[in-house]
């Protein structure tokens, strides 16, 4: 980091989709403009539109879900003071939000801007999941689609789960999945914007252990192992010291970026070891090396649990547990909100929701909330010996990964 960078004024819309009481698939729903405006405006109102130098959007594939491209043009739509200012959209599938953070950091470090509005969004409920699967499959290599599963990404991670089962035991691993699911829903119940906020299921682990049915879904995962289809947006203001001054923001209301790292793998290649998230591992290791910290100093993590198995593997990729021991680590409650390292404290992708392009930004908003004491009912205790927060955002099957490490400013 060639200069200090701070995040502040984060905002999440609700994650709308099945599970929310207000969601009715048969009724018309708000479009992308609604989400962009709500999240964008919330941040702009806190920092002042006139103070913003530029906007960075993350979105996966509005061109297909909403027939809309040229996303940068939505910046002046948020506030007319953003008219004629720079605006950029980045895309890396489910890792788009992380790319937006990294891109924002780099823009700030370039010296060309001091205050950037970073906003991620996705509105997926415009089509049924069976057709949405076609759209989401574009996060994989197109040439793999034909031989892929009807539910393409669940199919990919079902294969990973199968490999993990074979190596470490099916029942053992599924116990970890079930606990992951329970943690996700229990955390989501504490966050009013979460898609699973209204979930009242009294026996989550039992539900999570429902046998997978390959006739209607995939071989090694059930629907509770998967994040849902979501509409939502998340936005946050990211700025330099200069920017803080300009906006009149107290550092107490911010988190500081300690380090970040990106890693990319070949889209056309299959994972060499399906039981590991190797690209995630690279990004996380590099970010921690740059931050000069060890996993033992992490106070909370927002991991990319598009599937329970991805959550378990992320625990291992960080180095909190050895390969094959992630399920045990989770099952023992160490990732629960009162555990060693609370993970996904507002529900993560499974509990809070996964509006694809918003997810990476949502993770940053959650860390900002937790480290500044703005997490409401979902607030966890950040212990002094573990002051760091981490976000891991992953695009596709461990292809486009961004890891960011945060702490409260001195």
């Amino acid at each position: 980091m060639n200069k200090k960078i701070y995040l502040t004024a984060g905002y999440n819309t609700i994650s709308l989709g099945s599970g929310r009481k207000e969601f009715n698939p048969k009724k018309e729903r708000p479009g992308i403009e609604h989400y962009i405006k709500e999240a964008g405006k919330a941040v702009v109102d806190k920092i002042g539109a006139e103070n913003i130098d530029e906007t960075v959007f993350s979105n996966f594939i509005a061109a297909r879900y909403n027939n809309q491209a040229n996303i940068p043009g939505y910046a002046p739509f948020i506030d007319e003071k953003l008219r004629f200012k720079p605006s950029t959209r980045v895309e890396g599938a489910c890792g788009s939000g992380g790319l937006a953070l990294a891109t924002t950091f780099k823009f700030l470090m370039s010296g060309m801007s001091d205050v950037i509005l970073t906003l991620g969004f996705e509105v997926q409920n415009t089509m049924k999941a069976v057709y949405g699967a076609d759209v989401l499959a574009a996060a994989g290599w197109y040439h793999d689609r034909k031989n892929g599963h009807a539910h393409f990404f669940p199919g990919q991670f079902s294969d990973r789960a199968g490999a993990y089962f074979e190596k470490y035991g099916r029942e053992y691993a599924r116990k970890g999945f079930a606990r992951w699911y329970r943690n996700a829903i229990e955390n989501a119940r504490l966050c009013p914007t979460a898609q699973e906020y209204h979930n009242t299921n009294p026996d989550l682990e039992k539900t999570a252990l429902t046998e997978p049915n390959p006739k209607v879904f995939v071989e090694n995962l059930n629907v509770f192992d998967c994040s849902k289809v979501s509409d939502g947006a998340s936005a946050i203001a990211i700025m330099t010291e200069e920017g803080l001054k300009r906006c009149g923001i107290d550092k107490k209301e911010t988190v500081e970026v300690v380090a970040f790292a990106q890693a990319e793998d070949d889209l056309t290649k299959k994972p060499e070891d399906p039981t590991r998230l190797i690209t995630t591992e690279k990004a996380v290791k590099l970010a921690m090396e740059r931050a000069g910290i060890t996993p033992e100093q992490l106070g909370t993590v927002e991991a990319h649990d598009c599937f329970t198995i991805a959550g378990i593997m992320a625990v291992e990729a960080i180095g909190l547990a050895d390969y094959g021991k992630g399920a045990e680590y989770v099952y023992a409650g160490k990732t629960a909100r009162d555990g060693e390292v609370p993970f996904n404290t507002t529900g993560g992708l499974i509990g809070w929701g996964h509006p694809v392009g918003a997810t990476g930004v949502h993770q940053a908003v959650t860390i900002w909330e937790q480290l500044t004491g703005n997490a409401g009912d979902a607030q966890i205790e950040i212990k002094p010996e573990r002051p760091y927060g981490m976000t891991i955002n992953m695009g596709g099957d461990d292809k486009t990964v961004t890891c960011v490490i945060y702490k409260r400013p001195e």
Binding site: K128, Y131, D134, R145, K146, N147, H149, A150, K215, V216
Partner: protein, 452 residues
């Protein structure tokens, strides 16, 4: 002849009707699925949709197109497997569109009976008119060299009657779907004594492929489903008539009261008179008239239905599935007014409801509406608690409900003792799966001896 060969050329008579269209849809899907199997690659499957109206046949094709999409979406995993060797169709959406086209192409709409002359299997879903059915079967059988099998969807005409009159030599079986066939799980299977065993075997396999739940009924007019429903409805009419005569209810008040008791106090999906409207008053009257000649110890007939029919108070459904007015007037499926027999006008339901609800009394404690209880995992436990409270309640509504339940149970038991149903379980299964009841009529929820 194999299962696949039998289904290679099929005709549906009355294909554009309420039941026929569902039967056509399910059969078109089953035939298309067979055509996708590698061993059937070069075979052609033909499904003749025969009906009398061009407009209705056009609507039928649209219905098939829309409904097939829902089926295709649910079995996309299997479809992708079937399409795996076709490199041009990659996305789920492409495969589903292609599959819908294949199903639609299987269907050949026609107004000409001649289309059925090449078929190996004939589904019949025309009006519940025995003579019409006999005429069509005879005509097809005389002109079709394949000795086709006849599957009739009749809900009331004895199969042996059709077999004998049309001289089919046992190539016929009752295959009674419930409305709407695409959704309802139940099929009543009725083999006449003369029905050939291979016809029965095929019918079972076909039902299994359609994922239907089969209840065997013996060959008595009305079978189990209508055997229960028609008598239950008649009891409802008699109860309403008694309320008018003995308790000074007006006609609309009596209709409202019995409907309320049967729906709410008895936790059924709809009240008995709404169900009459749903099925159609004309249809019910007709079914009773078809059944009645075969019944020696009872008179299954209602003067009220006859005169409602004359006054053109018919119920039934519009082609879009919405409810037509009958004993009740409906808006978006909700009852807004009740028919008054005296004035031949509809009366607003609200004042009637206010008066009669007070008369019937509160619902007993532990009442759970049908919509909720049907999804409850501890359904029977909760029903037992509710019915035990009902038993102790002495309001007008509770008294009517108890007697109604007792009668409904007696109808079920008689179906078993008369040999229509093979078991009490079969009666209950028909009411549970064909009528969506939350509990079977033959149960031990109440102390039946005590109810007078």
């Amino acid at each position: 002849m194999t299962y696949d060969e039998r289904l290679s050329n099929v005709s549906v008579l009355g294909a554009a009707g309420k039941m026929g269209s569902g039967i056509l849809l399910l059969t078109a899907i089953e035939m298309t699925d067979l055509s996708l199997l590698p061993e059937n690659k070069d075979k052609v499957f033909v499904l003749n949709a025969i009906d009398i109206s061009d407009a209705a046949l056009k609507g039928l094709i649209e219905y098939v197109r829309v409904q097939t999409r829902k089926f295709a979406e649910k079995k996309i995993v299997w479809l992708r497997e079937m399409y795996k060797d076709n490199p041009k169709l990659v996305h789920n959406a492409e495969i589903i569109d292609d599959y819908i086209n294949k199903v639609v192409q299987t269907v050949r709409p026609s107004k000409r009976m001649e289309a059925a002359y090449d078929s190996y299997l004939i589904f019949e879903a025309v009006n519940e008119n025995p003579e019409l059915k006999v005429k069509l079967f005879t005509q097809i059988d005389e002109n079709n060299p394949n000795e086709p099998w006849f599957f009739t969807n009749t809900s009331s005409v004895p199969i042996h009657y059709l077999n004998e009159k049309a001289n089919l030599g046992g190539r016929i079986i009752g295959f009674h779907f419930y409305n709407p066939p695409a959704v309802q799980k139940l099929v009543e299977l009725i083999a006449a004594d003369a029905t050939l065993p291979e016809v029965v075997d095929f019918a079972r396999e076909y039902a299994k492929k359609l994922k239907k739940f089969v209840v065997d009924s013996n060959d008595f007019a009305g079978f189990i489903g209508n055997g229960h429903f028609m008598r239950d409805a008649l009891y409802g009419i008699q109860t309403a008539e008694r309320l008018m005569k003995e308790e000074n209810y007006s006609f609309p008040e009596a209709i409202y009261a019995v409907n309320k008791v049967t729906q709410d106090f008895m936790i059924r999906p709809m009240g008995i008179f709404q169900l009459l409207d749903y099925v159609g008053i004309d249809v019910c009257k007709y079914i009773m008239s078809v059944m009645n000649p075969y019944l020696s110890d009872e008179d299954l007939h209602s003067d009220l239905l006859d005169s409602l029919f004359e006054k053109k108070i018919l119920g039934g459904q519009n082609s879009d599935g919405s409810q037509k007015d009958g004993l009740f007037k409906y808006e978006k499926g909700k009852i807004t007014a009740v028919y008054d027999y005296e004035t031949d006008k509809y009366e607003d339901v609200e004042p009637i409801a206010a008066k009669i609800d007070a008369k019937l009394g509160e619902l007993p404690e532990g009442h759970i509406p049908w919509k909720k209880i049907i999804r409850d995992k501890n359904r029977n436990e909760k029903l037992a608690r509710y019915f035990s409270n009902l038993e102790k309640t002495d309001t007008a509504g509770a008294r009517l409900a108890k007697r109604y339940l007792k009668n409904s149970r007696a109808i079920g038991l008689k179906l078993v003792s008369d040999g229509v149903a093979n078991s009490e379980e079969d009666v209950n299964n028909v009411m549970l799966t064909g009528f969506f009841h939350a509990y079977g009529p033959i149960n031990d929820f109440l102390n039946w001896e005590e109810i007078k």
